[in-house]
């Protein structure tokens, strides 16, 4: 059997899942709050996130600038709030793409079974061993740096994880009596697939999507960080860590610290929430 990184992820997930109900509540609250920030962030930002003010550059936290300013005098709190939107939009699209592709692939292969399923499985195993960051970077090379190139590439890279999670549930559902009786009643495969299989795999899709969201956020921020994703001066957390990188030499830590902490907290919240959901969805032991 080919080795897969996914197997490694599963273990972490089980550990997170073992933490129980308080972890579910806490992670759901944090993830939910961050998601709300991503929507309303740009509107509640106290300053224009792109407005530079050379006179007040590189300031520490103060009453006027709660989290200080960066080397161009932009308000870090405003950039963090405004940046939340793009930081979340990237992984959201990645998860959307991988969910559509992965679910379709999984239900299709589970439905047909036999050699179709075997081929799909082999294909997934090859896909698992593709280094995501490399694909994202090459995608930027081909389609040009920006939001869409890495997002499309990562959407494809994350597909096998979703497909594998859904496939196990879909195969189980496929052999339930109700599917056979629907078939006997003359319902078309497409209708059964969408009307009946899809709702049953929904819980595992949500769980896997949540778990993948955290990792996707980190990967997307990494591509922006190296300059091939979201382009400065747009505010995004990866871009902010990159801006913060040059300020470090002057001893100004706050921009790196703020953006880095936001990324880490988001990843942890979504990882834990995804693990909790996946045990509760019954998709995994």
């Amino acid at each position: 059997m080919a080795v897969t990184l996914a197997a490694v992820g599963d273990v972490t997930r089980r550990r997170f899942a073992a933490m129980g109900r308080p972890a579910l509540v806490a992670s759901a609250v944090v993830a939910g709050a961050l998601a709300v920030l991503a929507i309303i962030g740009p509107w509640i930002a106290p300053y224009d996130p792109d407005a530079t003010d050379v006179l007040s550059s590189g300031q520490g936290p103060s009453a006027r600038h709660l989290l200080g300013t960066d080397s161009l005098g932009r308000d870090i709190l405003s950039r963090a709030l405004a940046g939340a939107r793009l930081s979340f939009a990237g992984p959201a699209v990645i998860v959307l793409i991988s969910t559509v592709l992965g679910t379709a692939l999984a239900i299709f292969s589970a439905w047909h079974g036999g050699w179709v399923d075997r081929m799909a499985n082999r294909f997934l195993n090859v896909m698992f061993s593709v280094p995501g960051i490399l694909v994202a970077v090459l995608s930027s090379a081909v389609f040009g740096a920006g939001f869409w190139a890495p997002v499309l590439a990562l959407g494809v890279v994350y597909t096998p994880y979703m497909a594998r999670a859904v496939r196990s549930v879909a195969i189980r559902e496929r052999h339930q009596g109700y599917v056979e009786s629907l078939q006997l009643a003359g319902m078309s495969s497409w209708r059964i697939g969408f009307r009946h299989l899809a709702p049953n795999v929904m819980p595992i899709v949500v769980a896997q999507g949540t778990y993948g969201f955290g990792t996707a956020l980190a990967d997307f921020a990494a591509v922006s960080f190296i300059g091939l994703g979201v382009q400065p001066p747009q505010a995004e957390w990866g871009v902010m860590v990159s801006d913060g990188r040059s300020e470090l030499l002057d001893g100004a830590l706050q921009q790196s610290l703020v953006a880095g902490t936001l990324i880490v907290v988001t990843v942890i919240a979504f990882n834990v929430l995804g693990a909790q959901l996946s045990t509760r969805s019954g998709g995994r032991r």
Binding site: A2, V3, T4, L5, A7, V8, V11, T12, R14, R15, F16, V126, S129, P131, G132, I133, L134, V137, L138, S140, A141, V142, F143, G144, A145, G214, A218, A221, A222, F225, I226, G227, L228, G238, V241, S242, G244, R245, L248, L249, G251, L253, S256, L257, A259, G260, I263, V264, V267, I268, N271, V272
Partner: protein, 325 residues
């Protein structure tokens, strides 16, 4: 039943050979497929290599000659074949920006990247497995290791890098903030922070997997058997628990090393290390596609190589794997 045993041994040996061969063929096929995808993708990417090489002032005649020389007007498959046969001889073409041989550009940088990956791999394996065993053996260590691992997995290398630079390079001044250094000791010194940043995430993965594998093995019946025979716990740990947990640990470590190679793309950029990861990003920015193709192919090859070796070791080590055929 009894007299069929020798025959079974013979078939299992054949099975092993067959599995070795199919695994290796699969790896070669994966690399070829990846090379085709990369080559095709980059050949449709925007940018005109002729303009890049000759500049704006070149005559039409000179442009046409160069197109001829580079074979740019040949059909796609012919160009791919030409590039592939060249690559097999170690000739990846000429860089569009520096006009040097791509091979000459990559060579010394590969050594730097290799050193970085080796240091990070050492950290991943030592810390990952060390923490993993502690977390797997006792309930007391488990909580601490779990917390560390949950955090480690969530900290991307570029975030960790900033924190490390801020604390150890800028505030404490123990390490340089960037560069690859000259001479071996200086290189090690320069590459320490990058290696740490690179190893955190994968180290967490490896220790997570190790502790789960060790914990699972400790509950196996044959471990109980050995304890029930009065075998000292150190020997039980070595001969049974760790020995049988080694497969998933090896797998995770191998994958981690493969991941480290891809991770250099990010980390080298942060610390301004002149390795192939930074070269890749620089070449993408300057649309130097021969270099991009070569570097990505090398990363893919290393990745496939590592995963293949893990597969082969798995077949070779476990008598049950050998018996499957």
């Amino acid at each position: 039943m009894k007299n069929s045993a020798p025959r079974r041994e013979a078939t299992s040996r054949n099975g092993t050979v067959r599995r070795f061969v199919t695994t290796i063929l699969g790896a070669v096929a994966t690399i070829l497929a990846a090379s085709l995808v990369i080559f095709a993708g980059l050949s449709v990417a925007p940018g005109d290599p002729v303009a890049q090489l000759l500049g704006a002032k070149a005559t039409d005649q000179a442009r046409a000659n160069l197109r001829q020389d580079l074979g740019l007007d040949d059909p796609f498959l012919e160009r791919y074949w030409h590039w592939l046969t060249g690559a097999l001889h170690g000739d990846f073409g000429v860089s569009l920006t520096s006009r040097q041989d791509v091979t000459a550009l990559i060579g010394p940088r590969l050594a730097t990247t290799f050193l970085l990956v080796a240091m990070a791999a050492l950290l991943v394996v030592l810390l990952g497995i060390g923490l993993g065993v502690i977390g797997g053996v006792g309930a007391r260590g488990r909580a601490v290791v779990s917390a560390l691992v949950g955090l480690g997995i969530a900290v991307p290398s570029f975030v960790a890098a900033n924190a490390l630079i801020g604390v150890f390079a800028v505030k404490l001044g123990w390490f340089p903030t960037y560069g690859s250094g000259d001479g071996f000791a200086d290189r090690i010194w320069h590459l320490t922070l990058p290696a740490v940043a690179l190893s955190i995430g994968y180290g967490a993965y490896v220790s997570q997997l190790t502790s789960a594998a060790v914990a699972e093995e400790s509950e196996k019946e044959y471990v109980v058997t050995a304890r029930g025979r009065g075998v000292p716990s150190g020997i039980v740990l070595r001969h049974h628990t760790l020995r049988n947990a080694i497969m998933p640990v090896l797998t995770a470590s191998g994958l981690a090393v493969a991941g480290l190679v891809a991770g250099t793309v990010v980390v080298e950029q942060i610390f301004a290390i002149d390795g192939i990861g930074a070269l890749l990003i620089r070449s993408i920015t300057s649309k130097d596609y021969p270099v991009v193709t070569a570097v990505s192919l090398i990363i893919v090859i290393v990745f496939v190589l590592v995963t293949t070796v893990i597969d082969l070791i798995q077949v070779a080590l476990d008598p049950r794997e050998r018996a499957k055929s």
